[in-house]
């Protein structure tokens, strides 16, 4: 019942939040001083041709009209056409989405698989050498500029040692496109050489992207486990003489990791924001580079398209995290 109420309350706000986000981006993108129409028309266009193009693109109508029109078309899944690539934004984004998702997911998996166990160990062996070493890692992870980390990794592993490629997603032909994820496509078609090369291309950008998220996870998991370890119920279980392993595996971890679930929403935000800059460093052909390029080219519709996409995913993930949190934590359900 409580869950249903929570869901409803969040859903009621979903549409206004998204429309508000649209309005903010719309206003920002429409006050760009450079005239995008003149940019598209080219230097040789006459003023009359520019005006004709402006009319054709609909930029001569009042702003509120343009906005309402935009939202109306968006509800039909039409994000407009990029004034630079001349293709529908939806197509551009769909084309580039797999690259970003593949990168983000690999980074997410790395940070979860490495970060959570390290956080648990750090808490269980408090004040050990490992704990102190991890403290350095977590402090660094949140202080390092990811674009600089990426460049340093390129300098060491690609330029000096030559172990990995410098940038890009793959040299040569991509694997036969099934899902758009190179790793999956290569694995499905058993094209192991391409799988290996795709993995090598992924290594540096994924490491760059994962580092801050990993630091956050280690830190949060450690705090969560420590918190549970001194709670009354663990004290009680100890007093009952339950074996330490059972207490750790069955009770402490389950209870501590519920709060880590919440952290995944935050993690996702870190990764998404990081992807924009990381993709720029590694010339990764995802939507992060697309967003940066669109902003630099004053490509309104493309910028809006990216914002809608990022905002919607963000809001949905936060909603899912709230729901998961309520489902996993018995205390939340009881009240």
């Amino acid at each position: 019942m409580r869950l249903l109420a929570l869901l409803l309350r969040r859903l009621v706000w979903f549409v206004p939040t998204l429309v508000g986000l649209l309005a903010v981006t719309f206003v920002i993108s429409r006050v760009i001083p450079a005239d995008p129409v003149a940019l598209v028309a080219g230097e040789t266009a006459t003023p009359a041709q520019v005006e004709a193009l402006r009319h054709q693109l609909g930029f001569d109508r009042p702003l509120p009209v343009q906005f309402v029109d935009y939202v109306a078309r968006l509800t039909r899944g039409d994000m407009g056409t990029s004034i630079f690539t001349r293709r529908p934004i939806v197509e551009d984004l769909a084309h580039r989405l797999p690259a970003t998702i593949e990168l983000t997911l690999v980074a997410m998996i790395v940070s979860v698989v490495v970060g959570i166990p390290l956080g648990v160990l750090s808490a269980l062996w408090r004040n050990s050498v490992l704990d102190h070493a991890l403290r350095v890692v977590t402090v660094s992870g949140l202080a390092i500029a990811s674009f600089w980390l990426g460049i340093m990794l390129q300098l060491l592993f690609a330029m000096r040692l030559g172990w990995t490629p410098l940038n890009g997603r793959l040299q040569g032909f991509p694997p036969q496109s099934i899902t758009g994820f190179y790793l999956v496509d290569a694995a499905v078609t058993s094209d192991w050489p391409i799988f290996g090369r795709a993995l090598l291309h992924l290594a540096l950008p994924a490491a760059t992207l994962a580092f801050p998220a990993l630091a956050t996870l280690v830190r949060f998991t450690r705090a969560g486990v420590l918190d549970v370890m001194q709670s009354n119920f663990v004290l009680y279980e100890r007093a009952m003489g339950l074996p330490r392993a059972l207490i750790v595996w069955k009770y402490i971890l389950r209870s501590a990791l519920t709060s880590t679930v919440t952290q995944i929403g935050l993690l996702f935000g870190i990764l998404l924001a990081g992807a924009v800059v990381t993709e720029a460093v590694f010339d990764w052909p995802g939507i992060g580079t697309y967003a940066v390029n669109s902003i630099v080219r004053s490509d309104y519709n493309a910028v809006m398209g990216f914002t809608v996409w990022a905002g919607a995913i963000f809001i949905v993930v936060n909603l899912l995290v709230d729901v998961a949190h309520t489902l996993v934590d018995p205390r939340e359900r009881a009240t």
Partner: protein, 288 residues
């Protein structure tokens, strides 16, 4: 005054907070005394084509850049830009976010909902994306970077202040103050605000680090103050075409950003331990 003394004494006992304070003091010193500490102070605006891309040496401690300027000297002047960006952007975010959070936390109903939803809208997109959009719209310059960061960072303060104000409303002293007939204004400014100062201070310290990181990313993408400004992020972008040869050129400004942000983060963590009694209790119980 005695409260501040208490905080400082507590901080001094925390080794990592002390390290944070030292790093920040070093940054401030570099910024203030840049013309004195720099070995080639005139290099920030001058060209020395003969000295291009020289490795670190006795004359140029951190080597020279593509214009032949001393990297170490430019770093010192870059610290000024970093500090100005951080202080003004976080200051403006405080001025916007704290009142909004207080109003939203004090009143219940549509106004409060509306204010928090507006801040949610800003939090719905990664800060760097929104800041890129604003900085690009307004054109690359120092004031525009500061504006872009302020406009996108205030919701963090609004959220913290909102949550803390709401939590305080259940406290007996707030209830009794309003029962005694204190006005909303008096209650908020004299009684609520001093009690939620700690989380605001902690957030401000962490916000300094975060803002400086985002500012560097904007500079890296070419949206920061234009050249020849010795902004750290832009310097890293400029250095890329001279890799792997001129490794010092890319390494030095990145380390400067790293140490600066780490300073503010460590101080923020230390302040949290000292100022937030709830967390302090759990910390002393576990961390010895």
């Amino acid at each position: 005054m005695s409260a501040m003394w208490f905080v400082l004494r507590r901080l001094a006992r925390d080794r990592s907070a002390l390290l944070g304070l030292a790093l920040i003091a070093l940054l401030v010193l570099c910024a203030l005394a840049a013309p004195l500490l720099a070995t080639h102070p005139e290099d920030v605006f001058e060209l020395h084509p003969a000295e291009r891309l020289k490795a670190p040496s006795a004359a140029h401690w951190l080597g020279t850049d593509r214009m032949g300027a001393d990297v170490y000297s430019r770093l010192l002047f870059g610290a000024r830009i970093t500090i100005v960006i951080g202080i003004i952007a976080v200051g403006v975010s405080l001025l916007l976010g704290v009142p909004i959070g207080l109003v939203a936390g004090h009143y219940h109903g549509w106004l409060s909902d509306l204010l928090m939803r507006v801040s949610d809208i800003f939090l719905a997109v990664p800060q760097v994306v929104l800041a890129i959009a604003i900085a690009q719209t307004l054109g690359p310059s120092l004031p525009n970077v500061i504006l872009a960061l302020s406009v996108t960072y205030w919701p963090w303060f609004a959220r913290v202040v909102y949550a803390e104000t709401r939590a305080l409303q259940k406290e007996v002293f707030v209830e009794s103050t309003s029962a005694l007939g204190a006005s909303a204004w008096r209650l908020t400014v004299l009684h609520v605000l001093p009690n939620i100062a700690s989380p605001i201070i902690v957030r401000a310290s962490i916000g300094m680090g975060f803002t400086i990181l985002t500012a560097a990313a904007l500079g890296f993408l070419g949206l920061g103050p234009p050249p020849p400004t010795p902004e750290w992020g832009r310097t890293i972008a400029e250095s890329r075409e001279f890799l792997p040869h001129a490794w010092w050129y890319a390494t030095a400004p990145g380390l400067a950003i790293f140490l600066t942000v780490m300073g503010f983060n460590l101080l923020g963590d230390g302040l949290r331990d000292v100022l937030d009694p709830r967390l302090r209790r759990s910390r002393t119980a576990t961390d010895g």
